[in-house]
Symmetry: C2
Subunit: 244 residues, 2 copies
Amino acid sequence: MESGGLPDIASLSALIADPSRAAMLTALLGGIALPATDLARQAGVTRQTASAHLAQLVDGGLLRREAQGRHRYYSLANPDVADMLESLALLAPRAPIRSLRMSHVATALAHARTCYDHLAGMLGVTLADRLVQDGLLAEAEGHWLLTAHGREVLTAWGLDLSRLERGKRPLIRRCLDWSERRPHIAGALGAAITERCLALGWLVRIPGGRGLRLTPVGHDGFREVFGLTLDVEAPGTGHTASAV
Amino acid sequence: MESGGLPDIASLSALIADPSRAAMLTALLGGIALPATDLARQAGVTRQTASAHLAQLVDGGLLRREAQGRHRYYSLANPDVADMLESLALLAPRAPIRSLRMSHVATALAHARTCYDHLAGMLGVTLADRLVQDGLLAEAEGHWLLTAHGREVLTAWGLDLSRLERGKRPLIRRCLDWSERRPHIAGALGAAITERCLALGWLVRIPGGRGLRLTPVGHDGFREVFGLTLDVEAPGTGHTASAV
DNA sequence: AAAACGCTTCGCCGCCTGACGAACTGATCC
DNA sequence: GGATCAGTTCGTCAGGCGGCGAAGCGTTTT
């Protein structure tokens, strides 16, 4: 039997309900650890208030803290937290655009971003669509399954699929994208694809957020390997927008 | 392109963060519509405060209101809301047991409950385990697929699978159970199984909550059709516990 | 050793929000 | 038509919580 007691979703939600804490959590959806001062800046509060918020989030089990010298790096405690945040994002109302900067951030994120450790945004769903169309993934009863052809292509691209399958993590999960409202590829495969794209320099992280930028190398790579033609960048957004 | 703007997960969470509202939402996870007074009682507040809370929840898109005479029935707006609530429950801290009554409610819910429209709790995961073991469901890459054998047995039991497959809803989804931390069957099939169990009188709803009670008929039914031997009821909890 | 830096703790202030009593609307029952 | 009941609106009050300035702690740098 479990530890008993009913889940207290109110206190968990209260943890996320504060705008500053929510901003920190979404910033950490980029999948990388960030120091306290960075998170304070992104949330728009002073260091001391950020510190209090971060303590609460660690206490509530949403964040993990890791000390490194005089820095303390914070990151999401586990993939379940990311799933939960994404399921909230799917139903959450859209914040009204208040500034040109916000609009830039929003379009950059809608274009390409990470969802903890896999690709999301237009890039994520277009890639998924393409893999299904080209028969690398097969759709069955609402799931995606890797085909023999898909296994071949992805192995040739450099993924070690047998290693992924040995892990306890599901190979493929469909994750509903909040900006596109269509599914992209999550699970172990989704993480591996992202990792490979970053390693190959096809994508680079936009500093301080979840946004991704497609490089010219990536443009050619996606076309040659997956037959996918993408815009390299929406004009002018790439450098200024430090996506939330 | 979408309506633009970033998802405001803070304000959505704030909607759920209040204990009274959270209690109402979890009560509605039973899958049936409830009038305002019932929800007020379950949340432990007066009618007028409940009314204010319910207005907020409807406004936030989480609940649907339906007038019927002088009653107003409230229910979850859509299955996505239920998914979101369950993903919160999975990570939420467990409320400490404060009374004998709370303990009864907790054990009743852990035993068998609905998760919006499918079976959860020990019953839900045991049934899923059994279907996999007996080859009605096949596991592939972390998904469940219906086998020919499964199709046969479930059709013989009275499910119209072809109708379910025509719908846009995924046939099978694995839903992580917060009390067992193992998956049970969600999706169109999960809903159909629950519906059939209620129609056959195998299970009855414990009034005013999400709890389910296994009937003697159900005991025999699960044994004969699925080879599953279950306790009819944890002693003494069935009648008093009006599960939250 | 002193200075700089990253982060946290403490104390106080101001606002937001949930709670109820009372009064009102509209449907149902006899 | 009067009584009853479900539900909502209004006004008021109190508790909780996030915000920052100031001060403290430990690490790194010169």
